[in-house]
C-alpha cells in the first residue's frame, strides 16, 4: 500500500439509462408524423359508416373526389362543394379532371379507372347525383362510395 501505487485508469462506462428516453422520443416522433394523406382537405370529410364493404384493389387506378362543407366558410360559403386534387370545382369541371386522370394511366387500363367518392355525411344527394351524372359523361363508370367499417349489430 504505497502512496504511489499505479492509479488504474478505467474508462467509465457510458450510461445507457437515458437510451429508453431517446428511443421513446423517436417512437413518438414516428407515431405523430406518419401522414396518411397527400392532398390537403379543403372540405369537411366525415365518412359514413357501413358494414358490407369491399376493398379498393389497385391504388394506381383510383382517383379521389371529395364532397363536403368547405372548411373556410367565410371564403367559400357553407354549401357543400366538390374538391379534386387541391382545388374546389363545380360539377362541370369533373369530366376534365377524369380525362386528366385517365391520361396518367396506361392505355389498356383507362377503362378500369375507379372514382372514389369521399362524401361527407352531412351532404345531400343533389350534389352527389350531379357528380355521378358528370362521371357518366366522362365514361368513368366504376364508382366507389368510400365508407368506414361499422360494427355489425347483427353479429
Amino acid at each position: 500500500m504505497s502512496k504511489f501505487s499505479k492509479k488504474e485508469k478505467e474508462t467509465p462506462k457510458i450510461s445507457t439509462s437515458s437510451l429508453p428516453d431517446i428511443i421513446f422520443m423517436l417512437l413518438f416522433f414516428f407515431m405523430v408524423t406518419t401522414v396518411l394523406r397527400e392532398t390537403e382537405l379543403k372540405v369537411q370529410n366525415r365518412l359514413p359508416k357501413a358494414t358490407q364493404l369491399q376493398k379498393l384493389e389497385k391504388k394506381s387506378l383510383v382517383s379521389y373526389i371529395y364532397i363536403g362543407k368547405p372548411r373556410d366558410t367565410e371564403k367559400y360559403g357553407t354549401e357543400p362543394r366538390i374538391q379534386v386534387n387541391d382545388v374546389l370545382v363545380t360539377p362541370k369541371d369533373i369530366p376534365n379532371f377524369v380525362y386528366a386522370e385517365k391520361d396518367k394511366l396506361d392505355e389498356v387500363e383507362r377503362d378500369k379507372i375507379t372514382m372514389s367518392l369521399k362524401v361527407d355525411v352531412d351532404a345531400k344527394m343533389g350534389i352527389v347525383i350531379d357528380v355521378k351524372q358528370q362521371l357518366r359523361e366522362a365514361e368513368a363508370r366504376k364508382v366507389n362510395y368510400s365508407c368506414v367499417q361499422a360494427l355489425d349489430k347483427d353479429e
Binding site: T16, L19, P20, I23, F24, L26, L27, F30, M31, T34, L36, P48, A50, T51, Q52, L53, Q54, K55, L56, E57, K59, V62, E79, S116, V119, D120, V121, D122, A123, K124, M125, G126, I127, V128, I129, K132, L135, R136, E137, E139, R141, K142, V143, N144, Y145, S146, C147, V148, Q149, D154, E155
Partner: protein
C-alpha cells in the same frame, strides 16, 4: 427497458400502413342519349324510394330502414311463389330512387342494407356465414368457382332512377 422500446419502435415502423380504402361499389349506367326500352315485368321490380325527408317507401309502403333487408331478401328469394313478388333471383331488380334533398348518410345506409340482403343470400347459397362471405369477397385468391356460381345465381342488380327534385340542392 431500451429493448422493449426498440421492439415497439420497430413494431410501429413495420406495421404502419396507410389505412386501406374501403367502400360500396356501384357501376354507373353507360352514357346513352336514346332511351332504350327495356322490358321488365312489374313483379320483378322492387321499388325503393327515399324522399327529401329521408323517409323510405318500399313497394308503395312506408317502411323503416331496419325492415328493408328482410323485405328485400323475401323479394329476391321468392322464386315465383307470390305472384306479386319476383320470379327468380336472376330476374329480380331493385330500383332505387332518391330525391336531391335526401341525406347522403341515409342513402348509404339503404345501399348497405340492400347489399347485405344480397350478401346474406349468397352466403346462404354457399353454406357459409356472412362474415366468411365478406372475407372471400375481399380476397381474390380465395374466390373459388363456388363463389362465382353464387354470384351468377344471385346477381346484384341495382338500378338507380333519375332523382326527383323536391328538396332542392
Amino acid at each position: 427497458m431500451a429493448d422493449i422500446a426498440f421492439l415497439l419502435l420497430i413494431f410501429f415502423l413495420v406495421t404502419t400502413t396507410i389505412a386501406s380504402d374501403k367502400g360500396l361499389f356501384i357501376l354507373l349506367p353507360p352514357k346513352n342519349d336514346q332511351q332504350m326500352d327495356v322490358k321488365i315485368k312489374e313483379r320483378n321490380i322492387f321499388k325503393v324510394f327515399i324522399n327529401s325527408n329521408n323517409q323510405l317507401l318500399v313497394e308503395e309502403q312506408l317502411m323503416s330502414i331496419n325492415q328493408l333487408k328482410e323485405a328485400a331478401k323475401k323479394f329476391i328469394s321468392n322464386n315465383g311463389r307470390d305472384p306479386k313478388s319476383s320470379e327468380s333471383p336472376q330476374a329480380a331488380v331493385i330500383s332505387l330512387k332518391t330525391d336531391r334533398g335526401t341525406n347522403y348518410q341515409v342513402y348509404i345506409a339503404v345501399m348497405d342494407e340492400l347489399k347485405k340482403a344480397y350478401n346474406e343470400l349468397r352466403a346462404a347459397y354457399m353454406g357459409i356465414t356472412l362474415a366468411e362471405y365478406l372475407q372471400i369477397e375481399n380476397d381474390p385468391k380465395r374466390q373459388t368457382s363456388k363463389f362465382e356460381e353464387a354470384k351468377k345465381a344471385i346477381p346484384y342488380q341495382l338500378s338507380e332512377a333519375e332523382p326527383t327534385n323536391v328538396g332542392g340542392n
